[in-house]
Amino acid sequence: MKITQREVGNAVILDLNGKLTGGPDAETFREVFKSLIDRGKKNIVVNLEKVSWINSTGLGILISGYTSVRRGGGDLVIMHASDRIESILYVTKLNLLFKSYESEESALTAFDEK
């Protein structure tokens, strides 16, 4: 799992690349989120376009990111989730937690007028 950060407008986009499976990835993620919060970044978009699949441990990583961002008064949304990932979010009811967008443009509207 590779994570690249981009700032776009008032948001930070995390471009993930690889598989989201927990293990070493969990630690990498935790550090990224810690640094985001330290730097006062509150609006986070997780770009799943290059994530071929996710398991439940990977879901846990996303949830932990979500929790820490929300605790700081921000929000975390996802974009470009594949059908595979969408259906996993659906059966785990995590679609109720993560707002999911099909384009970067629409994902960024999540943080309008905040």
Partner: protein
């Protein structure tokens, strides 16, 4: 030297759907998440080869990845000396996957009976939910001194009308 290291988890596959090895592919790998991608890639290709619909393939592979993740994490506790074994079997319009670990098993009846999903904010506890949601049959069997066997069965509703062993899509 026949040590734990050189032994594969459960060489006798005795679950119902697993009798005929002529349509079976087996994968054995160390207790490390980095092998999961290869398992996923193999089942995706194979199921397409057997004319499974993409949605059934995705369902089964999501369930299989959960079962393997649990085998690696809870069963074998990430011990690199322990291995996970996956047996993929095709039977007309259904695909079954058996996942064997070398761990101590767990009280699956209690967990399967659990009616509520974990609270949305919990970071764990969604594996069994995914396995149940994405399969038509989910069986657990613990073999003493060997480990746990989780059997996942997926019936492909779209493929039953197709010819046996159809072409790659």
């Amino acid at each position: 030297m026949k040590s734990e290291e050189s032994e594969s988890p459960q060489d006798d596959v005795s679950v119902a759907t697993m009798k005929d090895r002529r349509q079976q592919m087996e994968l054995t790998f160390p207790s490390d998440f980095k092998y999961l991608g290869a398992v996923d890639a193999a089942i995706q290709d194979l199921a397409r080869e057997f004319a499974f619909s993409q949605s059934s393939i995705n369902d089964l592979s999501a369930a299989l990845i959960e079962a393997c993740s649990n085998a690696i994490e809870h069963g074998n506790k990430f011990s690199k000396r322990k291995r996970v074994r996956v047996v993929l079997g095709f039977n007309g319009g259904s695909l079954s996957a058996c996942v064997f670990d070398q761990g101590a098993g767990f009280d699956y009846n209690k967990l399967l009976g659990r009616s509520l999903p974990p609270e949305p904010i919990s970071e764990r506890g969604r594996g069994l939910m995914i396995m149940q949601a994405f399969t038509d049959e989910l069986n657990f069997k613990y073999v003493a001194k060997k480990g746990l066997c989780v059997e996942l069965v997926k019936v492909d509703k779209d493929s039953t009308t197709k010819a046996e062993g159809g072409e790659a899509g």
